[in-house]
Subunit: 198 residues, 4 copies
Amino acid sequence: MGTDVEAPRATGRPRDPRIEQAALAAVRDLLAEGGYAAVTGAAVAARAGTTKAALYRRWPALPHLVHEAVFPGELALGTNLRAGLDEVVARLVGGTRDALCTPAAAAALPGLLAEAGTYPDLHASMIRRFSGVLAAMDERLGEAIDAGEAHPDARADDLVQLVVGTVIAGVLLTPGALDDAWVDRLTASVLRGLRPDR
Amino acid sequence: MGTDVEAPRATGRPRDPRIEQAALAAVRDLLAEGGYAAVTGAAVAARAGTTKAALYRRWPALPHLVHEAVFPGELALGTNLRAGLDEVVARLVGGTRDALCTPAAAAALPGLLAEAGTYPDLHASMIRRFSGVLAAMDERLGEAIDAGEAHPDARADDLVQLVVGTVIAGVLLTPGALDDAWVDRLTASVLRGLRPDR
Amino acid sequence: MGTDVEAPRATGRPRDPRIEQAALAAVRDLLAEGGYAAVTGAAVAARAGTTKAALYRRWPALPHLVHEAVFPGELALGTNLRAGLDEVVARLVGGTRDALCTPAAAAALPGLLAEAGTYPDLHASMIRRFSGVLAAMDERLGEAIDAGEAHPDARADDLVQLVVGTVIAGVLLTPGALDDAWVDRLTASVLRGLRPDR
Amino acid sequence: MGTDVEAPRATGRPRDPRIEQAALAAVRDLLAEGGYAAVTGAAVAARAGTTKAALYRRWPALPHLVHEAVFPGELALGTNLRAGLDEVVARLVGGTRDALCTPAAAAALPGLLAEAGTYPDLHASMIRRFSGVLAAMDERLGEAIDAGEAHPDARADDLVQLVVGTVIAGVLLTPGALDDAWVDRLTASVLRGLRPDR
DNA sequence: CACTAATCGAGACGGTACGTCGCGTCTTGTG
DNA sequence: CACAAGACGCGACGTACCGTCTCGATTAGTG
């Protein structure tokens, strides 16, 4: 699940598929209600109607479960790769904001970032959530540079880091202020930052 | 000192000032050596040559101690408020990078951000570290707008959030890549984003 | 065993029975070596090869563990209920002396008595240790009164209280003087006190 | 104070005599209200309107203070040494009961006995409380033996140990049942135990 | 009248034990 | 095999009490 392919186990009693969903939902509920500190192994198991052992059969550690609960899949830009740079950047900013501003995500984010130092695979998984966006932006930005729409020094990794970081800072420091006007301001500022000097 | 103004206790045995300093230094050492997980009440007390009780007399909980150890005072821009906008922004970016990239700070940052959700006063203290920079940038940016050097929509809070967030994302996601070239690229991009449309 | 009937837990991982025995033995060793003050949660756990949590899973607090270690079961009189009153009383006195004069018991007794004020259930458990002896003495004394061997005012609870109290006083005030001659003197005195007036 | 003569300190600020009384009264109050566990250095100082340092200037440790608060002087038999043996024993039993059955004494007794193992001087002080009674009983019992009123094996130390122990057991095990009838029963039993065999 | 010396209040100090909690693993019996 | 249940080792947490200490401020007797 998550980011890795699972070996198909054929033998023995099959896993109850409801437990996986119940656990992920339980994590989201607990995050929204009590924050990251409320996401305890025992609490998740109790809320999901199962036991800790069933959780550790599915995820190597609690943060991995939290990660999957909060970021179930890749960040998506929509299907706008052929759109204008303005719209692509707007979707990047807006999509990142949307992904990180759900109650569960906002509550989990700092905790996950902290655990990323302990679990290298978790760190990799979090980065991988942006790999698709990064590749797409890399390609699109290359075209924009070739077309003279973007500054030749512009780099997709810098761009994504800037956008993601700013959203993270917004979530951590001024949650509640990340409305659409905030997205518009950040988008405009980023776009100006991408423009060529002349 | 610390996070708040201190009540002027005149009575009772005065606190041993060496304990405070020893504890802060112990936290920095432990952070650099073993990361956030190594900053244990007992470990700090032992390394500082004191006891847990003496620590809890000074800080309400361990994260507060870590915060003070890692961010002892306000973020400083240097005395460059009268300098050109280019230099002011360069110093903001560089100073933020420097402050968050010390071994202790880099090790403590994710943990502190996570604990901020548990301790509201810690959250407030962390934000307050930027209040001076924020005020200074607000004033300087106002002048720049008036002088036509900056975009009329530019806001100091947005700017600081963007810079701090990008540095945080850099520390968390790509530590080791935040060299001076990185600072230069971010500075240039931010400056372009601040320029008026014309 | 212990102080109460145990609920028949059928589910979950069963408790490791060796831990219980190891803890009780550890307490007895520590009592004999360092007295009541040496019976620390951490010390007991370490000596028993387990952890504090495992102890607190079995006993509500340390004194309960000490109590069970020192007084594992009811005080026994031997199987002498049909013997002459002289011998019954002699066994009561001797048995009480023996039970309270083991190194562990002598070391634990004052501490346990003191903690009994804090833990009412511990107080009840300690009293219950004498219930069997009390019932037996009550029956035997009734027969003796009917046979004219004992004073009609004699009561088993008074008798047990007197014997136990005297032994406690001996242990606390003049430990080391409770030899067999002491037992004989007390036995003779108690027996005279039980005799009818004529 | 208490049992020892004090060196006459002439110089320096004299001790406030009210503190001593206030501390003793505070201990008694705390014992009656919250038991031995409530007698904390800080609690005693606060209730007495003074500080811990003032207490430790007067008593070497807390149990010594408790001891003096609860047993301010020697156990007294009244002036009945020339009375009949019946009355002397009755006064011994009754006086011991009275001394150990005050709320403060009953609450402090097990704690004090436990601490006696830690502080040898406290142990000695407690025993000394009975030295007068012991000497008096020794003399009176010798006369009784000579007069044929008492068993030639009777010993004052055994007698006192028996009476004190029984009262202690009564206080610890069945507090509230030590009424005058209880005293009468114990007195009668003890007296029978003292009688010569014929 | 200053000087000295011990007290007073307040509270921090080192030390140590307490009982609780969470993590991730394990060991049962039952499907 | 999975599952429910819950004990296991580990280790940190924050609190409490002990008896001592260090302050600045009093409060006598002495020189």
